[in-house]
């Protein structure tokens, strides 16, 4: 499963609000909020977030094996 915990840590570390990220990236606030619950997304949205934050994909997401 791809999880986005690092995204929210990144936002906190850089003092960026989710609303600011939404405005800068063009990704809706509700979708960003849903990422907390590991909502499935795609590389297009990851690209928008990376572009807005000027970071690499691995700075905001990680893979973790799913538990049975």
């Amino acid at each position: 499963m791809i999880i986005f915990n690092k995204l929210f840590a990144y936002l906190a570390e850089h003092d960026i609000s989710r609303k600011e990220l939404s405005e800068k990236s063009g990704v809706s606030l509700s979708i960003i909020n849903d990422l907390r619950y590991n909502r499935k997304s795609n590389t297009g949205m990851i690209e928008k977030l990376c572009k807005a934050l000027n970071c690499k994909p691995e700075d905001i997401l990680e893979y973790t094996p799913e538990e049975i």
Binding site: M1, I2, K40, S41, N42, T43, G44, I46, E47, C50, K51, C55, K56, P57, E58, L61, E62, Y63, P65, E66, E67, I68
Partner: protein
Amino acid sequence: MQQLSLKAGFQNERTLSSIASRHQHITTGTLSRLCEILECKPGDIFEFVEEADRQKHKRIYVREDWQYSSDDYVVVNWERLLSDIKAAGYSEAKFSLALGKANNYLALKKNRKYTQKVLLKEMTDLLGKPFEEYI
């Protein structure tokens, strides 16, 4: 690519072809599946290329230095391996922990048709047996 598609459970090569062609987005579900099969991190197979650095393509790239070799994977005789793990006094969870993995690691791996050869060798080394016995 066909073999990797089969291992990843994709119905055809279209998904991987889409990635390779660098013109299509893929879902995080697909990305997750690739990371699972290849036992790698997203950053090992994907990178974000800044606008200024890319000329024609506008998507996240598959790393050009990434290579896949089907020789790295084997079909494991899990029945025999699990039997020997049990005979050595390990539960699946304890054996996973002995490998330095999460306690559900073996439970996840045993359901996969293909296993990394290097992982099989780690497991058989722990049992003190040659890995060829389990292929």
